[in-house]
Each structure stands twice: as C-alpha cells, then as structure tokens.
C-alpha cells in the first residue's frame, strides 16, 4: 500500500498542480499546457531513455492531427474515433519510417527527422493541397458531435478528458521505465555493444522506443486537432521543430515530471513574456543556454531534490 502510494505520489502532486492551474488560470492556457506536456513526454522519453534527439517531432504531431482532421472533416463526427484514428496513424507512420531512421547515428537522426518535418510541411501545404486545403487549413469545429459523458466539443469537458489522457500516458511511461524494457533502452543508449552481447537487439529496442514515443506525439496531435477544431501546415513548420526539445530540456531530460514542468514553464513564458515585451525568444534562448551551462538538470531536476527534502521532512515529522 505504502509502495503504491510512493509510486503515485509524484503524479498526484504534479496533477494536483495542474488541477489547481485549472482553477486559477484561463482554460485555453491549461489545455495548451496539458496537450503540450503529452507532446513532450514522447520527446523526453526518446531523448532521455533512448538517447535520440529529434528535431522532427512536428512531423508526427501533424500525422496525428491530420489523420484526426481528415476523419472529422470528411467522414465522421465522433471525436473519440477521430483520436483513435490519429493514434493509429501515428503507429503506422512510425512503423514506416522507424526501421529506416533508427539505424542512423544520433546526429543524423536529429537532422533526418527535421527533413521529414520539412517534407511533411510542403506535402500538407502544397502537394496535397486538394485534400488539406493548403495554408487555409481544415476547419471542422462544427463537425464535432457532442458525445455523452465527456463532451469533447466543450472546452471544459475536453480539459478533463485531456487531463485523464495525460495521467494515463504518464502512468504508462512510469510503468515502462520500471520494466526490463526501460532498462534495456537506457542500456542501449549508454553502450550499444554491451546490449548486443547480452543478447538483445538494439534495433528492436530502438524501434519500439521510436514507435512508442511518436505514437504519443501523434496522440497529442489528435488532441490538438479536436481541441482547436482546425489544423494547418503551420504546426510542422521548421520554426517550431525544436519546441518539444526545448520543453524537454527546460523540464529536465529523462525525468517524468519534466515534461509537465517544462510545458507549464514554456507556455507560461511564451504567453507572459510575449504579452509583456513581445520578445520571448530572447528569454527562452538565454534560459536554455543557462540551463545547459548549469548542468542540464532543467526545472524539474532542480526542483526535485528540494521538493523531496520538503516532503520527507514532513513524513519524518508525522512518523514521530
């Protein structure tokens, strides 16, 4: 029981914070944060566990978003089915490109993904203009039907749904990190030769990590599509290619709460600073450099020891 609690305490704390956010902050902001943290979890897993830095996450985001959008625009009305289709598209996409990409060295991997994002951008913007409507994007907010229980066409219900999805995704990654597979990932990041000698296939380990991470990203894309009710090629533009990487670093690489902390910080800063001085790149950029120079622990990595200290002192007091 106690162990269960310990397993969960972090998530309870983090999501309590999100629930509090919901009360104090405007809904669009909270929704943005939740989706962004799901978006980042995939990237964080890829970077922290498998050692792959990807500058092409928008490509997978768009895969999910556009799959959902196509369904909702052309075929159906049920947002849940739309999201499921988005996830499926993510799996298919990463299964197609994964076997080719994960063979590459990590530096090439980063750049090849960037190339994929650029190709996606031009595909969506120009080549497939007949079905994607190019730069105008697809608008289907009114197509989304009300659903019983959690009505995704209403932002506050959507928030609850996204919240639950985020918890599920987080718990999944937490579980994954504790399994043998998680250990294999880490091992293949640190020393691929030794993993080979132990009888595991680096290729399979990496492919699985790639598929898992990018399916998560596609899920975030689907959520974006349903939430905003519209998609446009802009989401894959190379300007935004580094967003998830930046958030991962801001939050702290490989930590589980990092994506949440990073998403809050990034979205918050973007909103706050661009509201105040209209120049958020300046602050984010220098913050990023500062974090890297200070030892890449990120926001969560720095906060965690402090929080733990605080919490355990409380526990100690209680037990006395």
């Amino acid at each position: 029981m106690m162990n269960m609690f310990r397993w969960w305490w972090g998530i309870l704390l983090a999501f309590l914070l999100l629930a509090v956010l919901r009360v104090f902050l405007p809904l669009p902001f909270s929704n943005e944060v939740i989706i962004f943290s799901i978006y980042t979890m995939g990237c964080s897993f890829l970077l922290g566990r498998a050692g792959f830095i990807s500058f092409g996450q928008p490509a997978y985001l768009a895969t999910g978003a556009y799959a959902t959008a196509f369904y909702l625009f052309y075929f159906g009305t049920n947002p849940y089915i739309g999201i499921l289709i988005g996830i499926l598209a993510g799996i298919v996409m990463s299964l197609i490109v994964g076997p080719l990409f994960v063979r590459l060295r990590s530096d090439y991997f980063a750049l090849v993904n960037l190339a994929l994002a650029v190709i996606m951008f031009y595909m969506l913007q120009k080549v497939l203009v007949g079905i994607t409507k190019g730069d105008n994007g697809l608008w289907f907010l009114t197509n989304i039907a009300s659903t019983p229980v959690l009505d995704l066409s209403r932002p506050n219900h959507f928030y609850i749904f996204a919240f639950l999805v985020a918890i599920a995704v987080w718990a999944f990654y937490k579980y994954l990190n504790d399994t043998l597979y998680g250990a294999c990932c880490l091992a293949s990041k640190i020393n691929e030769d030794k993993v080979k000698f132990l009888g595991y296939s680096n290729f399979k380990i990496r492919l699985t990590a790639f598929v898992i991470a990018n399916t998560t990203t596609a899920l975030a894309g689907s959520l974006y599509a349903v939430y905003l009710g519209f998609v446009s090629p802009e989401m894959t533009s190379s300007h935004r290619a580094a967003d998830p990487v930046v958030v991962t670093i801001l939050g702290g690489v490989g930590t589980l709460y990092g994506p949440i902390a990073g998403a809050i910080a990034y979205t918050g800063m973007k909103d706050l600073i661009s509201g105040l001085i209209g120049n958020w790149e300046l602050v984010i950029g220098f913050l990023l450099v500062f974090i890297m120079l200070a030892g890449e622990k990120g926001i969560w990595g720095t906060l965690e020891p402090l929080l733990k200290k605080l919490l355990f002192r409380k526990n100690a007091l209680k037990s006395e």
Binding site: I53, A115, V246, E281, L282, I284, G285, F286, L288
Partner: protein
C-alpha cells in the same frame, strides 16, 4: 519544353543559392568534424552578417563594406560565444551541445528583434549590371557570389592542406585525442575553427542579403537547407559539402522551374534517399568516431 534562356538563368540562380549554402555549410561541417558539435548558432551569425550588412550599407551606401563588416562582426560574436559557452561544454554529448547552440540561436534572434525590429528590411543590390551568356541576361551580382564562394573553397583547401594548423585540424577530424597526445593545444584549434565557421556564415548572410529580404527569422528559414547540404555531403567533408551545396542549389532552382512545390521538397527527398543508401552522406568518412 523548357527554353534555354530559362534554363541558363535557372542554373545560375541555383549556383548562387548553392554558393550561399556552401559558405554556411562549410563551417557547420568543420565544426562537426573537429569538435563533434552541431552548431545551430551558425544560423545566427548568418542573420547577424545580413543585418550588419543592412545597417552599414544604409550608413555608407556600400554593400561590399557592409558585407565585410558583417563578416567581422559575425566572427567576433562567434569568438565570444565559443569562449563563454562552447568551451565549457565540448566534452558533453552531441545532443547537449546541439540544444545549447539552439538556445544561442533563438536568444540571438531575440536580440536581433530588439535591435532591428521584426519588419523585413531590403538591402540594395550593389550592381545591377547584367551580362549576356548565350543570349541570356545574367545579373553580375550572382556571378560574383559564385566566384566568392569558389575563392573561399580554394582558400579553405589551401588552409587545410598547406598550413600546419590546417593539417592539425584535418588530423583532429580523424582523431582529436591523438592530436592532443602529440602536445597540440586542441582548444586553440577549436576556437580557430569556430571563428572561421562564424565568419563564413556572416559572409553568407551578407552576400545573401541583397537577394532576399533581411528578417529575424531568416536563419531558421535556411536551416533545413543548410543542414541538408551538410548531411548529403557527409559531415566533416569539405569537398562533399561543395558538391552537395551546388547539387541542392540546382535542385531548388531547376525544380522550381518544373513544378514549384517540388523545389522545396525535392532536396529533402533526395537527402532521405542518399542517407538510406549511404548513412554517412556522399563523402562522409566511416572513420569518424561516435
């Protein structure tokens, strides 16, 4: 049927774009080869080069003076960045330096925005003369750009093959620990290489400025193309970079004559193909560790 005039101007256009890509990619390639960093901040020095060119040409009326100043300023700033940031993190993982350099890039874009504002600025082209090649009017400025990039290639080649520091850099691209083991201060080599890279990026920005509008995001716009050039050529190879720069330039330019959307996308498809066949690029060496 494409007519010859269009084709010739297309080729020249492609070569001049390729020259700009080459000037930027060579620095990236050297930095990767020697220091094992992916220096995204080269794109910042490119923007700085362009902006300084803009300001100086506005002030003095001479774009050439502006490009020169842009080069110098870009070189100085790259020196500062290397000293204060990269020198501390060379030992780290490549993902780590890549992110730090990205931080420098967007931080720098922020600085540019606060100095020059967000509105795109035009830079006057220094010479409007055209000469006729096979009956096609070709702007002389584009030819000058091509000539400059070839001169730079020659210069870099001489530097790497004829000077002792160049030889040390080539040796370091193979194995930096052995160079260090001989008693050569590798950090001095790193700084030299970084400044060369930054200066050339600045030059690229200065030369590119009259051909486009100068705006704060310009670095991010060429980023995918420049990286593609580096990858197709093979990280760490100078010759490969030159060839792939001109290749990409031609694909962009000739491609746009055939079918406009193809121009932007085709190079990336080519890159994917090349990487799948040869994961280290055209001239990428297998000797590179890591």
């Amino acid at each position: 049927m494409m007519d010859t005039q269009l084709l010739i101007s297309g080729v020249i256009f492609g070569l001049s774009i390729g020259s700009i890509f080459f000037l930027m990619a060579i620095g990236l390639s050297l930095c990767f080869g020697l220091m094992r960093i992916i220096s995204l901040d080269q794109l910042l020095y490119y923007s700085i080069g362009a902006y300084v060119t803009y300001s100086i040409s506005l002030l003095t009326g001479s774009m050439w003076l502006g490009a020169l100043a842009g080069m110098v300023v870009a070189g100085i700033i790259s020196f500062g960045v290397e000293r204060f940031i990269f020198l501390r993190i060379y030992e780290r993982d490549i993902a780590f330096t890549m992110i730090a350099s990205f931080g420098v890039l967007i931080g720098g874009v922020g600085v540019i925005k606060s100095i020059w504002g967000v509105i795109p600025r035009p830079v006057p082209i220094p010479t409007l003369t055209q000469i006729s090649i096979l009956g096609t009017e070709i702007p002389v400025y584009r030819l000058i750009v091509i000539a400059i990039s070839l001169l730079v290639y020659l210069g870099i080649w001489l530097f790497l093959n004829r000077t002792i520091i160049g030889k040390a850099i080539r040796a370091g691209i193979e194995d930096v620990e052995h160079v260090e083991g001989l008693g050569i201060n590798i950090y001095r080599l790193f700084t030299t290489t970084f400044i060369i890279a930054g200066t050339l990026s600045g030059l690229a920005g200065g030369l590119h400025a009259p051909l486009i509008m100068v705006d704060p995001q310009m670095g991010l716009e060429v980023m995918p193309f420049v990286f593609m050039v580096v990858i197709i050529g093979g990280l760490g190879s100078i010759k490969g970079t030159l060839i792939s720069a001109f290749l990409v330039g031609q694909v962009v330019s000739i491609g746009s004559l055939i079918y406009a959307p193809l121009a932007q996308m085709a190079p990336f498809a080519i890159m994917l193909l090349i990487l799948l066949v040869k994961p280290t690029g055209l001239y990428g060496s297998k000797l590179l560790k890591r």
